[in-house]
């Protein structure tokens, strides 16, 4: 089998980030159009014209989490436009925009928070999850930031966000060691200036793209790249993907259900199939609807039994709808090739060979080999 240098493929990926505007103007959702919005995005993720940009839209959706169940389609859509705009832009700009985003304000209770009696939810998650990570701020910082983030009101119908100076806490606060009056943008600046911020974002993004945390040396390098680029996002992505850890951790990244489904339907030859997005619910992942403010959970959860259950159910459903490309030879090698598995383990190979022997009948054997290959550890781990 001919081999290409990895660097070429990475170059190609980084050079062609995909069409960031694909179909963006096609949807202007009404309030009850949640299914429509979710389906639209799923189609974009599945669209071969999209690329790295779409990957990063997906990432930021989990980083700056908001759930459509809580905020509805109109606000969610406005936030999505914002994420699409900044996905490969600047982290500081993105953070500032998020602090004035209606969906975020509603999701984390910044909407209507008043300076004298502020709601702490947004302030805490902003520091814990979005910018610094636990241990890099105090409870007093949470309380101070909550005051500084007060004064915003969201109109649910129009997605319009207004700032009421009278509701904002405009006296000086003590925040991260300095005493001053702070606006929401000042809070974002102060957070982005912390060295902990570049490290936190670099660690989270590395974990997302590579599957594991970077070691300390690599994290230092990534954070230095990120800071050196004034928190521009693309240089950080590039440093992660060109880093040794990216390949060294091959098959350490559990595929999340949406990714698994896209890869699986492509392998089966069903690239253009239409899904009811809520069918994804059984797999535990509906775009725009993460389970809590930490975004999509990480780690072994995505290879657990409940995932296998949902996946096999899906494969069987697809094969029942006769979408498997029957031109594929019902052999183990042909199915592995379709599934882009070139490094199969002995144990999985033995299981598939056994299944091929057990099931002599042609079409049924193909279906069985697909079901088992798509359930295998090799396919569950990208």
């Amino acid at each position: 089998m001919a081999h290409r240098p990895l660097a070429d493929v990475v170059d190609e990926t980084l050079a062609d980030i995909g069409d960031r505007a694909v179909g963006l103007d096609l949807v202007e959702p009404s309030e009850d159009a949640e299914d429509e919005v979710i389906a639209w995005w799923f189609d974009r993720i599945n669209d071969p014209r999209t690329g790295l940009h779409e990957r990063m839209v997906w990432y930021w959706h989990g980083h700056f989490t908001t759930a459509i169940d809580n905020v509805g389609a109109v606000l969610m859509w406005e936030q999505h436009r914002l994420v699409r705009k900044h996905a490969l832009g600047n982290f500081r700009t993105l953070t500032k925009a998020m602090l004035e985003d209606g969906a975020m304000l509603v999701y984390l209770d910044g909407d209507g928070s008043q300076g004298e009696q502020p709601n702490e939810n947004l302030a805490r998650e902003l520091m814990e999850l979005f910018t610094l990570g636990v241990g890099n701020y105090t409870e007093d910082d949470v309380k101070a930031a909550a005051r500084a983030l007060s004064g915003y009101w969201v109109d649910w119908d129009t997605a319009e966000v207004t700032f009421e100076p009278a509701e904002h806490y405009d006296r000086p606060i003590q925040f991260l060691g300095s005493r001053s009056r702070f606006s929401a943008a000042d809070i974002a600046d102060a957070l982005c200036d912390q060295t902990a911020c570049a490290r936190h974002v670099a660690r989270r993004l590395h974990r997302h793209l590579v599957g594991v945390d970077p070691d300390d040396n690599h994290l230092d390098r990534l954070a230095a790249v990120f800071r050196g680029a004034d928190l521009e996002i693309l240089p950080l992505v590039e440093a992660i993907v060109r880093g040794d850890s990216f390949w060294a951790n091959h098959r350490s990244r559990p595929r999340q259900p949406v990714e698994w489904l896209i890869a699986a339907t492509a392998a089966l030859g069903a690239d253009n199939i239409e899904f009811d997005p809520w069918e994804l619910e059984v797999s535990g992942q509906v775009p725009f609807n993460p389970p809590n403010v930490a975004g999509w959970p990480e780690g072994d959860r995505w290879v657990g039994g409940s995932q296998v259950l949902g996946r096999i159910s899906h494969v069987l459903q697809l094969s029942r709808e006769e979408i498997i490309d029957t031109n594929i030879e019902p052999t183990v090698d042909a199915v592995l090739e379709r599934c882009s598995i070139w490094d199969i383990s002995d144990a999985t190979r033995a299981a598939l060979d056994g299944a091929a022997r057990d099931q002599p009948e042609y079409a049924q054997r193909l279906e069985l080999l697909f079901a088992l290959t798509l359930a295998s550890p090799e396919f569950a781990l990208a």
């Binding site: 702490e120 890869a263 299981a351």
Partner: protein
């Protein structure tokens, strides 16, 4: 490094994909050496334990003496339940701190014990016998959901013990007699709460997704045989591969769960038509099956009431009270009432001072226990006049002590074998239970 010629840009994107995660916690961590059942260090608290003047319970349940048959249902109130709107002290101080939230929208708090009322939604379980362990929390609390959830799941209030298993998982290890499934979580898949070393513990999202595991015919048999081979341990593989193989193995265990559910269980057994009611209805059927389940966990989401607390918390309390009462009645009709303890957990309580329409993250909160329990208040209520520097309650009982009570008092398992070295393990022991 080179790659196969089939690898293209799209596959590289897929590889960078949507997965991610920290180092595996697959349940191979080790606890400190067991202390071989030595109970001598365990002394019940001498005073202040027992409730007085509690609203009387019509027919208290007496626990079975057969300790080897005892079962545990854990309802996890996720998001941080507001304990002060659940078990409500009749306190002027609280009224001052809660100008908007103390008036319940529909009904008034109902009497419970001296100086303490209950959310009215809990009246059905009060009337069936409700024990409340007051002020459960940690000595060095954190405001983060995720940090505190982890401490509660691991049974490590300090967050410093570095346990790799969950408290419920370790209970299952102690209770394990080789049953098909000792610990089971319903509704949200796997939970770190149930990570065990040797017992089989599984998390089940929607049981009907596994329909194919009990289909008959040669193709389905071949599928199951193939999954069995894929799920078997293979030598020398990475932690992630091992986790993936054990996930496949667990899938086959789901088949047993499904096979053991009676058709009867689909009928009307009186559970409310809510998500919690559905899961608890399944729970009762599974506890009554031949799987050998001893510990059953059901998450109940939505308690992070920063906003709209009056409506949201009210609704959840009503749901909780109605569902737990239905569960108790159903267990009674199955003859399991004297074997089954129901308890709640929540990662933290909420700030006594409201924020206008809700409450922010707090610290200690009450644990609710239903079944063969000594009804009433247990332990001391946190002092509303002695809050910590963040304006939060100071816990009067450590989460480990709460857990030690379950381990020792309910299951007869020495606390030291399921909690970290040096953890506080005073609790109520068997005194909390009605025998």
């Amino acid at each position: 490094m080179t790659t196969p010629h089939t690898l293209n840009r799209r596959q590289v994107l897929t590889m960078m994909g949507l997965g991610g995660g920290v180092a595996a916690a697959t349940g191979y961590g080790l606890l400190s050496p067991r202390n071989n059942g030595d109970l001598s260090s365990f002394l019940p608290r001498p005073t202040g334990m027992f409730a007085s003047a509690t609203v009387p319970v019509a027919e208290p349940i007496v626990a079975t003496n057969n300790i080897g048959n005892r079962l545990l249902v854990v309802v996890e109130l996720r998001g941080g339940n507001d304990g002060l709107a659940t078990v409500i002290p009749e306190s002027g101080r609280l009224r001052d701190m809660r100008p908007n939230l103390l008036g319940f929208s529909a009904t008034e708090p109902v009497p419970f014990a001296d100086g303490t009322r209950l959310h009215p939604g809990l009246a059905p379980i009060r009337d069936r016998g409700l024990a409340i362990v007051q002020g459960v929390g940690t000595s060095n609390p954190d405001g983060s959901h995720f940090e505190m959830e982890t401490r509660w799941w691991e049974g490590d209030g300090s967050g410093q013990a570095g346990l790799r298993t969950g408290f419920l998982g370790r209970l299952c290890d102690e209770l394990d007699i080789g049953a098909p499934i000792t610990g089971l979580s319903l509704g949200a898949g796997n939970t770190p709460f149930l990570i065990a070393e040797k017992a089989t513990t599984v998390g089940l999202p929607d049981p009907w997704a596994g329909w194919f595991l009990n289909e008959v015919g040669p193709w389905y048999e071949n599928l199951r045989r193939g999954l069995e081979r894929l799920g078997a341990d293979a030598l020398g593989e990475s932690a992630r591969f091992m986790a993936a193989r054990s996930g496949i193995d667990n899938t086959l265990a789901f088949g047993q769960v499904l096979g053991s559910l009676d058709d009867d269980d689909e009928g009307d057994r009186g559970f409310p038509e809510t998500e919690l009611g559905y899961q608890l209805g399944l729970a009762a059927g599974l506890l009554d099956s031949n799987l050998g389940v001893r510990v059953l966990h059901v998450p109940f989401d939505g308690f992070d009431t920063h906003d709209d607390q009056a409506d949201d918390h009210n609704e959840m309390m009503n749901d909780l009270g109605a569902c737990l009462a239905a569960l108790q009645d159903d267990l009674a009709s199955r003859g399991l009432a004297d074997q089954t303890l129901i308890m709640t957990t929540s990662e933290f309580g909420r700030r006594p001072e409201e924020n206008g329409s809700g409450t922010d993250h707090g610290t200690a909160g009450p644990g609710l226990l239903c079944g063969p329990v000594v009804a009433g208040l247990h332990g001391d209520a946190p002092d509303l006049n002695a809050l910590d520097d963040d304006g939060n309650l100071v816990a009067t009982m450590m989460v480990e002590e709460y857990y030690a009570t379950i381990a020792e008092g309910w299951f007869g398992i020495p606390a030291a074998s399921v909690l970290a070295d040096g953890a506080p393990t005073n609790g109520f022991g068997a005194d909390l239970f009605s025998t």
